[in-house]
Each structure stands twice: as structure tokens, then as C-alpha cells.
């Protein structure tokens, strides 16, 4: 694992509110370079909002984001983004290959059209996610897992150094989840930084090596082994979760208020 002391993403004093309700409060984060970082927290904790405000998609009251020590705006080309699958209308008339090629539009400039070189790059990315055979398939005819892979391939062609992924494993089949995690690991081993909003506590230890526990403000962050403790989880989730400390591993029962 390539891991150096540089900071891939640093966030200073970020506050976001929606209709005078604080969604994120005084967030300060430093995520080291070359890690697979998970962002975990209960519903409404502001996980997606955090990513979106860093990318400038949601207005923030205060705060700045730095990629590798430089302001995000100047580093836009080094940042890849995989939005939630449900954020677009999949009935749009286009093919899987075309969606992947959209990842190259930022690089192409204003009037240049994607050509053969771009087509090759996009096909290669589809190949990586195991979707080359479906390149010309209408996106409306893809399954949820296949749609998610298309989105991942679109981020891959961006050839970014820092990737933001918003719940890439939500509602996908087991094969897709494995395929996605394999690709993310490979990217991390190449020295890229992956910042992943995640909802499944069962897999946190297996998937991530760095963790941010979030509930409006930062509950804890750091190496996953230090952060992923029963104590911290109780702080983040409050009474919403039942914890059973089973020697080394933490196990979770589906939480109802009365158990």
C-alpha cells in the first residue's frame, strides 16, 4: 500500500445549513493521501451533503476545501465524482458508452468533440468494470448494479487523483459490490485517494483503512481500527443502534428502539 504523509483532502471550518437548520457544523478534516476513506454516520448526518458542498454543488455558509494543499477550484481536473445512482433520470436516450465518455467532457474543452481516442478510453474503462459487452446498451435497460458500474467507469476515465463516491454500494447486487470494491482497492494501491460515503456498518472494517464518523459534526476520524469502536459508534448513532462486543469484531443487530 502506497501511503505517504501528504494530505489529499483538507477541509477547514465547513458549515452548511438548509432552511436555517444546520446540516453540517464546523467540520475540520484531513484525509491522508493514498487511503480508502469511508464516511459513515446515521441517516441525516450530512454524509452526502459533505461531499456535495466540497464539490461546490451545495452552498456552504463557511469553509474551504483543499486538494493536496491547493484550493479545490484550481484542482478540479484532479477530482473524480461518482454521484448517487438515483440523482439522474435513467430514461435519458443514450448508451452506456456515451455516459462514460461524458467523463472526458471537462478535458475536451469547449468545442472539441469526443473522437476515436476518447472512445477507446471509455471502452477501456467499461472493460475495467466488466461492462464492455454492454457498451451500446440503452442506459434505461441496465440493472441498478450495471448503472452503478457505468457511473464508476465515467469517473475512471477522469483519471483523477482524488475520488468522491456517494453510496456506490447502495442497492447493488453482491457481484457488483465485489467488482466495485476490487476496482477501488486497485486505485488505492496506485496511490489514489478514495473518499466513500458508506451505509453498511458490517463491511466498514473490511473495506476501509481510514474512517470519518459523522453526525452533523465530526464524531471521530482517523485509522479505521482506532475509530471504529463501540464507544464512537454509540456517540455517532445514539440509541439507534445495538452493539454487541463479540471479542474482536463488532456485530450489529438491526436496531429497534426497544431492544
Amino acid at each position: 500500500m502506497v501511503r505517504d504523509e501528504r494530505v489529499a483532502l483538507s477541509v477547514n471550518d465547513l458549515t452548511v445549513s438548509y432552511h436555517s437548520q444546520p446540516v453540517l457544523w464546523d467540520i475540520n478534516i484531513d484525509i491522508p493521501s493514498g487511503v480508502m476513506a469511508g464516511i459513515v454516520g446515521p441517516n441525516g448526518a450530512g454524509k452526502s451533503t459533505l461531499i456535495k458542498s466540497l464539490l461546490g454543488l451545495v452552498p456552504s455558509l463557511s469553509g474551504e476545501a483543499f486538494i493536496d494543499g491547493k484550493s479545490y477550484k484550481s484542482q478540479r481536473k484532479r477530482v473524480g465524482y461518482v454521484p448517487q445512482r438515483s440523482s439522474v433520470d435513467w430514461d435519458f436516450p443514450t448508451t452506456a458508452l456515451d455516459v462514460v465518455t461524458m467523463g472526458l467532457y471537462g478535458r475536451l474543452g469547449w468545442f472539441k468533440r469526443p473522437g476515436r481516442k476518447e472512445r477507446e478510453e471509455s471502452l477501456e474503462a467499461l472493460d475495467m468494470v466488466g461492462m464492455r459487452a454492454l457498451a451500446d446498451r440503452q442506459i434505461s435497460q441496465l440493472s441498478g448494479g450495471q448503472q452503478q458500474r457505468v457511473f464508476l467507469a465515467r469517473a475512471l476515465v477522469q483519471k483523477a487523483d482524488v475520488y468522491f463516491l456517494d453510496e456506490p454500494m447502495a442497492g447493488v447486487d453482491a457481484t457488483t459490490e465485489r467488482a466495485i470494491i476490487d476496482i477501488l482497492r486497485r486505485l488505492r494501491d496506485e496511490g489514489k485517494t478514495l473518499i466513500v460515503v458508506h451505509h453498511d456498518l458490517q463491511t466498514v472494517r473490511r473495506y476501509f483503512d481510514w474512517l470519518l464518523l459523522l453526525n452533523v459534526s465530526v464524531v471521530a476520524m482517523g485509522n479505521v481500527d482506532d475509530v471504529f469502536t463501540a464507544d464512537n459508534l454509540r456517540k455517532a448513532y445514539g440509541g439507534q443502534i445495538a452493539l454487541l462486543d463479540d471479542s474482536n469484531s463488532l456485530m450489529f443487530a438491526a436496531s429497534k428502539r426497544d431492544n
Partner: protein
């Protein structure tokens, strides 16, 4: 040879060319509006063109096309921007803000219209024709104007094709790759205004929305790519424009604008019904095909099971013999998978003795193998 001589008619030529231009511009721009879920935006923009038409008339002092078009463009674009601002800044949802803008601007337009009519201006005649269009009044000079606007907007759309596509499909991602999303959204929205002013003379402000939405909706049924959709939409627009204008000219006295809209609507209905993959009829056929395939498999399966356990032909089918089952039985018999022997003393459903042929046994075995393969 009446309909041939009409081809040389000056008015008819103007109307047909104008209608074709309208289809050419409203189809492509409408495609983006429909995909961006802003179909009703066209409605609001076209209604908002009315106060501009009146203001253009008041300022120019006469029914001069240039100033009327500029006026319509200004108030149309104003309404479009107001809607964008209302949805972005306030808690209003899109439908509410469209409703507000549409009625406010249209009301102002109607007030201005009655003001002009009351002012005894000798040249005020026919300003209300912009409500429902008056295609026969189209002049050659108007056509040049309409053609110029069409050429301009299609060129702009072509130049910004990939930006328009990405902003329409996934505006948030477009933002992260550095596209000026707001600028392109504003452009796509205000360009609808250009289509509206081309349609002012032909179909008028009230029916213009249909010309934005209908060709795009029809085209979506037949297309797999955005490019194809835009081309087909332009085609549908031109065809409905030309056929509406021709029907109007041949029938003497029927209004052109509404006929254009009706032609487009017929194309929409046909497309919604029969387009492959997306059409209603297609879906229905697909459903029936699946039902009958399931029926056939069920029958094969049950006959095979009962036959192999009891080692004899079946008298009473272990399921209700309804219409779809009867069809399935008939299909299976025609394929040679089973045979029936009638016993005349019993009623039809109970009296038939069904027997799988050796061909049928093999088919049933392959069905079962497939089912088992799926469950394990």
C-alpha cells in the same frame, strides 16, 4: 389540378415555409426542454410573449414584425429567468413558479391588448391574431427573420452540443468537471423563447407550448440516442407544420395553427401507441407473449408430473381451463407436444384426455432442467 395550382400560390408558399421553419426550431429545442422536465416552461414562455408583442407594437407604433419579435423575446426571456430564480431561491416548486409566471405575464398581456384596442390606433388591427396565430398573414420578410432565428439557434445548439447534453443528463456531474452549468441552463431555457417567437405568427402564444412538447415526445418514442431524438423531433415538427398548412389551404378557411398542432398530436398518439420497445401496444403484446409462454410451460410441467407418477393419460386437467390455458393447449397441440382424444359423453373441458407425446416429454424435461438450473 386544383391542388397543384395551390403550390404556386404566394400565401401558401409562405405559410408552408413558415410552418416548416417552426417545426425545425421547436423540435430540437423542445427535446431539451422535455428531457429537462421543463415541458410546461414552453407554455409559460409563450404566454409571457404576449405582453412583449403589445409593448413592441406600442413602441413601434405599428404592427411591425421586427419590434414585435424583439418585444416577445424580451418578456419571454424575462419570464423564463424569473422562473429559474423563483425555483432556485424560494421554496416554490417548479410547477408553482411556472403557474405564477404564466398567469401574471399573460394577464399583463391581455390588459395591454385591450388598452391598444381602446386607443383607436388605425393600425391596431389584428394584434389579437397573435393569440391563436394567423398564418395567412405571413410575409416573405417575416420568413427571412424566422429563418435567421432558426439557423442561429440550431447553430448554437450544435456548437454547445456536448455541454447541453451533459447538463441535461447530469447537471451536478457537469458542474464537477467544470462546465458553466447555470449559463448553459439559462441558454437552453431562453432559446425556447426563440422557438416561441418563430411560432408567434403561425400558431400564436396559446397553442405554442404544444409545438415545443409534441414533436419531442413523439421523437423520444423512436430514438435511442439524443442526436437521433433531436433529428426526429425536427422531422416530426416539419411534417406536422407542412401537413397542417396543406390541410388548411385545401380545406379553405380552417385555421392553420390549430391544424398544425392537431397533426403533431396525431403523430404523438401513433408514436405512443406503436413505437417499438416504448409503445403501449408493444408493451401489451410483450405481456401477452410472456403470459402464454408461462401457461405453456405450466401445462407441460403438470402433465409431465402427473403422467410420470400415474403412468397414464390425464382426464381432469389439474388447473382451471380459462381462455389463456385453452390457447396454450391449442398451441402445444399444434406443435405436436401433446395429443387429445375426445370422449363424446363428457363436456369438453373434462372430456378431453390429454397425453404428452414423446416430443412433449422431451420439451417438458428441458423446461424442468431450466427451472432447476435457475433455482440452484
Amino acid at each position: 389540378m386544383q391542388w397543384l395550382s395551390i403550390l404556386h400560390d404566394y400565401t401558401f408558399q409562405n405559410v408552408v415555409i413558415g410552418a416548416a421553419l417552426l417545426g425545425l426550431i421547436s423540435g430540437p429545442l423542445g427535446s431539451f426542454a422535455v428531457l429537462r422536465r421543463q415541458s410546461l416552461l414552453g407554455d409559460a414562455i409563450s404566454h409571457a410573449a404576449l405582453p412583449g408583442v403589445c409593448l413592441g407594437f406600442i413602441i413601434a407604433g405599428s404592427r411591425e414584425m421586427g419590434s414585435i419579435i424583439v418585444g416577445a423575446m424580451v418578456t419571454g426571456a424575462l419570464a423564463a429567468l424569473l422562473m429559474l430564480v423563483l425555483t432556485r431561491m424560494s421554496r416554490l416548486k417548479t410547477d408553482a413558479s411556472i403557474g405564477i409566471c404564466l398567469s401574471i405575464f399573460f394577464a399583463i398581456g391581455l390588459v395591454l391588448l385591450t388598452y391598444i384596442q381602446g386607443s383607436n390606433n388605425a393600425s391596431q388591427g389584428g394584434l389579437e391574431s397573435f393569440l391563436f396565430g394567423q398564418a395567412a398573414a405571413t410575409l416573405r420578410s417575416d420568413l427571412w427573420l424566422m429563418g435567421g432565428i432558426t439557423l442561429f439557434s440550431l447553430t448554437l445548439l450544435g456548437a454547445l452540443w456536448k455541454q447541453a447534453k451533459l447538463v441535461t443528463f447530469d447537471p451536478e456531474f457537469a458542474h464537477t468537471v467544470g462546465l458553466p452549468v447555470s449559463l448553459i441552463e439559462v441558454l437552453l431555457t431562453t432559446m425556447v423563447t426563440l422557438a416561441v417567437v418563430v411560432g408567434l405568427q403561425m400558431v400564436g402564444v396559446v397553442l405554442m407550448a404544444a409545438m415545443i412538447v409534441a414533436p419531442a415526445v413523439a421523437a423520444r418514442q423512436w430514438s435511442r440516442h439524443l442526436g437521433a431524438m433531436v433529428f426526429i423531433a425536427a422531422g416530426v415538427g416539419v411534417v406536422s407544420g407542412v401537413s397542417g398548412a396543406s390541410i388548411s389551404a385545401l380545406s379553405r378557411g380552417l385555421a392553420t395553427g390549430p391544424l398544425i398542432i392537431l397533426s403533431a398530436s396525431i403523430i404523438v398518439l401513433i408514436s405512443l401507441a406503436i413505437a417499438p420497445q416504448r409503445g403501449l401496444l408493444w408493451g401489451l403484446l410483450q405481456h401477452l407473449r410472456q403470459v402464454s409462454q408461462l401457461r405453456r410451460r405450466q401445462i407441460l410441467y403438470t402433465l409431465y408430473k402427473t403422467q410420470s407418477t400415474r403412468d397414464q393419460e390425464v382426464h381432469n386437467l389439474p388447473f382451471r381451463l380459462n381462455f389463456s390455458a385453452a390457447i396454450a393447449l391449442w398451441q402445444l397441440r399444434r406443435k405436436g407436444f401433446l395429443v387429445s382424444q375426445k370422449t363424446p359423453c363428457l363436456p369438453m373441458s373434462a372430456g378431453n384426455r390429454w397425453l404428452l407425446t414423446s416430443l412433449g416429454v422431451r420439451e417438458a424435461q428441458s423446461v424442468m432442467a431450466e427451472l432447476n438450473g435457475k433455482t440452484t
